[in-house]
């Protein structure tokens, strides 16, 4: 099932991006398998909270998609300036790429939708930014609300 999810996201992607995405989620799934084989205390804790191996694999795939695709988009499209740079004053990056109000109008709803997908699935937002599998499992198992200590919802959708 998790492989079907990975294919669903992977089929969207440009070849090189897909390679990065596949490498990312596959490495996380290998780590998860190892942690389960070792009966690592962190996975024991997570399992006790209902996070089965398959569920953790699903989170690993969403985490990878977030870090490879959604994250870079968020960096530019969740950042606004008073001077209107990148919005009213479009930024032309090379021949094809533009960052402007027009492109933000297309990208921001996608970012919001992906965040909704995660929160409606009961995932904490910061879980999708954690890069080490063992840290991710620890955060999930310990019901860590905020890997930063004081998220406080400040990174909301504005």
């Amino acid at each position: 099932m998790s492989q079907r999810l990975a294919k669903l996201f992977g089929d969207l992607l440009d070849q090189e991006v897909k390679r990065n995405f596949d490498r990312c989620w596959q490495a996380m799934c290998r780590d998860l398998n190892y942690l389960f084989e070792q009966k690592d205390t962190r996975v024991v804790q997570a399992s006790a909270n209902g996070w089965t191996l398959e569920r953790l694999r699903v989170i690993a795939i969403l985490n990878s998609f977030n870090r490879v695709v959604v994250g870079p988009l968020s960096a530019a499209y969740r950042t606004e300036t008073k001077s209107g740079l990148g919005r009213e004053t479009p930024i032309q990056y090379g021949e094809r790429l533009e960052i402007s109000s027009k492109t933000a109008g297309r990208v921001r709803p996608a970012l919001d939708a992906f965040e909704r997908l995660a929160t409606e699935s009961g995932l904490k937002r910061h879980w999708l930014n954690i890069s080490r599998t063992s840290d991710l499992v620890w955060a999930i198992g310990s019901r860590d609300d905020d890997g930063e200590g004081n998220d406080g919802g400040q990174e909301s959708n504005e």
């Binding site: 440009d14 870090r67 959604v70 988009l73 968020s74 950042t79």
Partner: protein
């Protein structure tokens, strides 16, 4: 991969939500790797701009092309044909430029291109032709390290120790003010230029954070992770990052090649021989450490 728990409605629900997301926003996510890196770099650029704006500096876009900001994406481009930003405030002004090559104060042959550079106002961008660059047919653009306030680097990836350490090398090569009184004034504070910063997309693990904090305590730099969350990653600790107090002409006083008082370079043939280690050719005895020692600035610790 089968679910150990058998039928799992949670997994099925996530898959259904994902299918809906893909259906609606697939096109937005279908973007090249190069474009994603570019977008991330622009995100870091906007984060820096926002940081200056929050401190009350006026940000003016210069050299707009058809009312748009034309972003220089490679050091091969002529900076004069692209847009940049002017920062005004605190009785001085500076410029933010992208992809401008920096010529190190350590040696004229040490040139590298940070993603984003803040330079003193009116920093000269030297234009030369070099026989070893595009066979002397194209111009080589670079700014002296003695004009650099802060060179920033953006990495759309997960950070790792070697990345952090290599950024220290970039810092040492590109900031002539290190060792001057300027570097003593750099501290964790809420006002001032961001000290030279490495922006990393993913969150860092606790072990890496310790290393990053240690490096920040030893050098006037910032190693910032979590930029995939947008400017919030910096805003949440805007008062806790290393900053250079605002003042005119921060760049530094170290002698720089191209300055009148610096001795002329050794000849090109000798320099090339020194680099071509694998050729089996005879390497002049004075190359390597001797050359390095002769031109090395006084040790600054």
């Amino acid at each position: 991969m089968s679910s150990p728990g058998g039928d799992d409605r949670w997994v099925a629900a996530v898959e259904a939500r994902s299918a809906e997301f893909v259906e609606r926003f697939g096109k937005v996510c279908s973007i090249s790797d190069k474009a994603l890196s570019g977008i991330f770099e622009v995100g870091c650029f906007l984060t820096i701009v926002g940081d200056y704006e929050r401190q009350g500096l006026v940000v003016e876009a210069r050299n707009l092309v058809e009312d748009g900001f034309r972003y220089l994406t490679t050091p091969n481009g002529n900076p004069a044909n692209f847009s940049h930003l002017k920062l005004v405030g605190e009785g001085a002004s500076w410029e933010i430029r992208q992809q401008v090559r920096v010529c190190s104060h350590w040696h004229d042959d040490v040139n590298f291109t940070p993603d984003i550079v803040v330079v003193d106002e009116d920093a000269e961008i030297r234009t030369e032709k070099d026989q070893d660059y595009a066979a002397g047919k194209r111009r080589f653009f670079r700014v002296n390290a003695s004009s650099v306030v802060a060179a920033h680097e953006c990495k759309s990836m997960t950070g790792f120790p070697e990345l952090y350490v290599s950024f220290v090398g970039m810092f040492l090569m590109g900031h002539a003010w290190y060792g001057d009184p300027v570097s003593k004034s750099v501290a964790r504070q809420s006002r001032g230029h961001l000290a030279p910063s490495l922006f990393v997309g993913s969150e860092a693990s606790n072990l890496h954070r310790r290393m990053m904090t240690a490096l920040e305590s030893q050098f006037p730099i910032n190693l910032l992770s979590g930029l995939y969350r947008g400017a919030w990653a910096l805003e949440r600790k805007a008062g806790q990052v290393n900053r250079i107090p605002f003042r005119a002409k921060i760049g530094g006083t170290a002698p720089q090649c191209g300055d009148d008082h610096v001795e002329p370079e050794r000849d090109r043939a000798t320099a090339i021989a020194g680099l071509d280690i694998g050729s089996g050719g005879e390497q002049p005895a004075h190359l390597g450490t001797a050359l390095f020692r002769d031109r090395r600035p006084a040790l600054r610790c």
